[in-house]
Symmetry: C2
Subunit: 239 residues, 2 copies
């Protein structure tokens, strides 16, 4: 069950059997959620964090005029709200975009980890810093990139993140999101996402269809999105 989480950690950190065991015992319970289900609301006091085992979650906020901005997507193996451990409540919502399986981790046990395991503490600290790095990359997309580059960059990022946890098949992966979801990630309207995806498809760079991404030309895609995976910190080392 936790294999994808371990895979994610191992891609960046040295993970000892002891660490793994500590993580296993930190798990509270397992839960399932349907698609489009709000797991966490802003401002609500939280006593556990949520580890995503399968499916796609997102962090988002709704605006006054009804618009929505997704600030991060979560794939299997990610903690969706490890930051709630120190924040105690969130400034955004978390919802499922597909059916999801999750595990909960009580904050008490995380506190225990900060007392007993400095190494694992730094490793989870790193993990929240990685979320921040993803936020920064999205700021760059949102602030300065064209619609085409925004979508290309997003598709590249997700390819790499899915690959780490073994969820790619060759140059393609399942991405059962709507075009509106993609627009909420990139600050675009669903209409413009549609046009831009068509353009990427017509240029034979990438196809997004039937909830599946198929990359036809990785070099062209990374170039279009000005994608450099450095911000994903894919170096396995002691943290």
């Amino acid at each position: 069950m936790l294999e994808r989480h371990f895979a994610k950690l191992r891609a960046r950190n040295v993970l000892s059997p002891d660490d793994e065991q500590t993580i296993r015992t930190a798990i509270g319970e397992y839960r399932e959620h349907p698609a489009d289900h709000v797991l966490i609301n802003p401002g609500v006091e939280l006593t556990h964090s949520t580890l995503l085992l399968d499916g796609i979650l997102c962090r988002y906020r709704d605006l006054r005029n009804g618009q929505r901005q997704i600030t991060e997507l979560h794939v299997a193996g990610d903690f969706a709200d490890l930051h709630s451990f120190t924040l105690k409540h969130l400034d955004h919502s978390i919802m499922s975009l597909t059916p999801c399986r999750v595990a909960t981790v009580p904050h008490d046990r995380l506190t225990e980890i900060t007392r007993q395991s400095p190494h694992l503490t730094r490793l989870y600290w790193f993990s929240t810093n990685l979320d921040a790095a993803i936020h920064r990359e999205w700021e760059i997309s949102l602030g300065r990139r064209s619609a085409r580059a925004k979508l290309a960059a997003l598709i590249c990022e997700l390819f790499v993140r899915f690959e780490i946890v073994g969820l790619t098949q060759g140059l393609s992966y399942e991405l059962p999101l709507t075009q509106t979801d993609l627009g909420d990630c990139t600050g675009l309207t669903n209409v413009h996402v549609n046009r831009t995806l068509k353009e990427l498809r017509d240029s034979e760079i990438v196809i997004f269809q039937d909830g599946k991404v198929t990359i036809l030309d990785w070099a062209a895609l990374t170039h279009a999105g000005e994608f450099d995976p450095a911000y994903l910190y894919l170096e396995k080392r002691d943290r």
Copy 2:
């Protein structure tokens, strides 16, 4: 020297005299930098973090076409790159926008803190999570807000952050940035920043002039920027 840093921490955490003493002894050396000086380049291995004592720093990245996106501004009392402790190198640059005084904190001593002081560890972990919350808020601005709302939100955020460390005078504060800098924060051009600031000035909401912000109508400003300080986590509690 560290008073502003302590003020920032105390606004959100319970800080014991012991904690303060530990922080004091963690400081390496003090340095000064002129304006427009790059302190940290992406990819360079880092062995210490930088605590800003005075001035304004920013995290930013340059794009292929020469554009720049600033992903966060740092005010006195902030760690500019506490995240480099677990990341080891950064995915972005850090530069001074004004002359700055900083203190360095060797990563060795932070490692020591994770071994000896679980409480202080959580507190600094919180601090990087706060940076991430600011990143999220900027994503929302960059993705979904109008030029007017973006600038209003930024001005609100900085007012609150400066106030915490005692750098406001009534409803105004020093902000010696150029309109191009503000554009790099908000994803706008300097020309459009200029027009939008004029509009905010003409509506008698806020004046940005001669490196100084003067808020004329706080209610109108927060409304224009859809500003809710929840993401700044201004509750003093045990973390």
